[in-house]
């Protein structure tokens, strides 16, 4: 399912795009990741369907959205992307190769439901109402203040090199890839 939403922005200069902008920017993940992989891309890739599909908690989502909107209104955010098909792993990779800069992600810092202990589930769950956000170092304190009390994790930062690195729950590298490789994989379905 694809929703396209069009709205009028009072000030276009406050618009935030999804490509990472500068090395050193801090990567945050907003919203809780649950083992909601029912009908996910990851399961589909493995020939499975699953039975736990993402649920929306509208009340909690709204608090998160309002905090994020306040942060973008103040110009604190340098890039923002939703987690949809493919979950966090795909969203973060898209942001990285769109901006031509690498990224590190540490799954230990991810807000998640208590008994979720699989790296692949954390990377590819399609839980609703989550965002990947980059924040310039100078804005991090103000951003943290706005996010206080919300499920927000500081998971990594933007790299100057084209490396894409994910640290798993046991502190070991579970992904080390290259932007060109990720982008090629992403474009493959459109290359006839």
């Amino acid at each position: 399912m694809l929703f396209s939403v069009v709205a009028r922005l009072p000030d276009v200069r406050r618009a935030v795009t999804m490509d990472v902008k500068r090395p050193g920017d801090v990567v945050f993940v907003l919203g809780e990741t649950k083992a909601e992989l029912g009908a996910s891309e990851y399961y589909a890739m493995h020939g499975a369907i699953g039975n736990r599909v993402p649920q929306v908690d509208a009340r909690r989502a709204r608090r998160l959205y309002e905090a994020l909107a306040a942060a973008t209104q103040r110009g604190l955010v340098s890039a923002c992307h939703d987690c949809s098909d493919g979950g966090l792993g795909v969203a973060a990779a898209e942001m990285a190769f769109a901006g031509g800069l690498g990224m590190t992600l540490d799954l230990r810092a991810l807000p998640r439901e208590p008994d979720l202990d699989r790296d692949d589930f954390l990377l590819y769950s399609e839980s609703a109402s989550r965002f990947v956000v980059t924040v310039p170092v100078a804005n991090v304190e103000a951003f943290r203040r706005l996010m206080r009390g919300l499920p927000v994790g500081e998971v990594g930062h933007v790299l100057a090199t084209p490396d894409f690195v994910v640290i798993g729950l046991h502190g070991r590298e579970v992904v080390r890839s290259h932007l060109a490789e990720l982008k090629a994989a992403w474009q493959r379905p459109l290359r006839w």
Binding site: V12, R13, A15, V16, T17, D19, K21, G99
Partner: protein, 264 residues
């Protein structure tokens, strides 16, 4: 400050009149633009007299039938020749952007190295064989007599056209243009050097992107200066630190400043 009056032509497939009028009306430019439909202008041609600048904007006038700009050029030639001649004789400015440039070339108002109303060049289909929609770098020729490019060295603007390859009728026209410095701007590489495709997006002879007549007051170009008047129109505005004012503004400000100084 007195605002020179700008007639921005519209109708029959012209489609950049609103943003062109917006560019002239910017406070930092200071014009007073009125969008006038071609039908209204042909019905009451004398209204042209009260304007100081005439602009033929971009678009697809008359659906590019026969050739881009051909039908509008013919209409202007046979329905508006007297008021247009008067406009030019009074030393007023005529500006053609993209499709408007094609019209001025077909009318023989550009480059007009050997006199008015004789077509000396054409804007042929792009060498690439397709519509080109991309941003290009322009190098302004310092010896060009047009007030529009005064004080400008480089521009970065978008082109969007299928027929933008400037071809002079023969070597004599090209030589006359060079002698009189009628090439106002050339496509160039990002470093300012000679352009090859895609920096020269259409295969224009001698990388010619903008042309003026010997008086400098008739001016035409394929790129769209009205499409870069605000920072947020730049393709990488979210990534680069750019000034609020887009580069295209300078051409409009030059035109209005010239009109205010010489025509009011």
């Amino acid at each position: 400050m007195v605002r020179p009056r700008v007639l921005v032509l519209s109708g029959y497939g012209i489609n950049c009149e609103q943003e062109t009028a917006h560019a002239f009306n910017l406070p930092s430019v200071g014009g007073e633009a009125t969008v006038v439909h071609l039908g209204d202008l042909l019905a009451r041609p004398e209204q042209l007299d009260r304007f100081h600048i005439l602009v033929l904007p971009g678009g697809f006038s008359f659906g590019d039938h026969i050739a881009a700009g051909a039908v509008l050029a013919t209409k202007l030639r046979y329905r508006l020749e007297q008021p247009l001649s008067r406009f030019l004789r009074d030393g007023k400015l005529v500006i053609g952007i993209c499709n408007g440039f094609q019209v001025l070339v077909r009318l023989g108002l550009l480059p007009a190295s050997g006199g008015l109303w004789q077509q000396e060049a054409t804007l042929a289909p792009n060498d690439s064989g397709r519509f080109e929609d991309r941003w290009v770098y322009l190098r302004i020729e310092p010896a060009c007599p047009s007030p529009l490019v005064e004080g400008i060295e480089r521009l970065y603007l978008p082109v969007r056209h299928g027929e933008g390859k400037f071809v002079p009728r023969d070597a004599a026209v090209l030589q006359a243009m060079q002698r009189q410095h009628l090439v106002a701007a050339r496509y160039c590489a990002p470093d300012g050097g000679p352009a090859s495709y895609p920096w020269n997006p259409n295969g224009s002879v001698d990388d010619i992107a903008a042309v003026c007549d010997p008086s400098g007051r008739v001016f035409g170009l394929m790129p769209h200066p009205e499409a870069y008047v605000h920072r947020t129109q730049h393709p990488r505005w979210t990534r680069e630190c750019l000034p609020e004012e887009g580069m295209g503004v300078r051409l409009f400000r030059n035109a209005v400043t010239f009109a205010r100084t010489h025509l009011l």
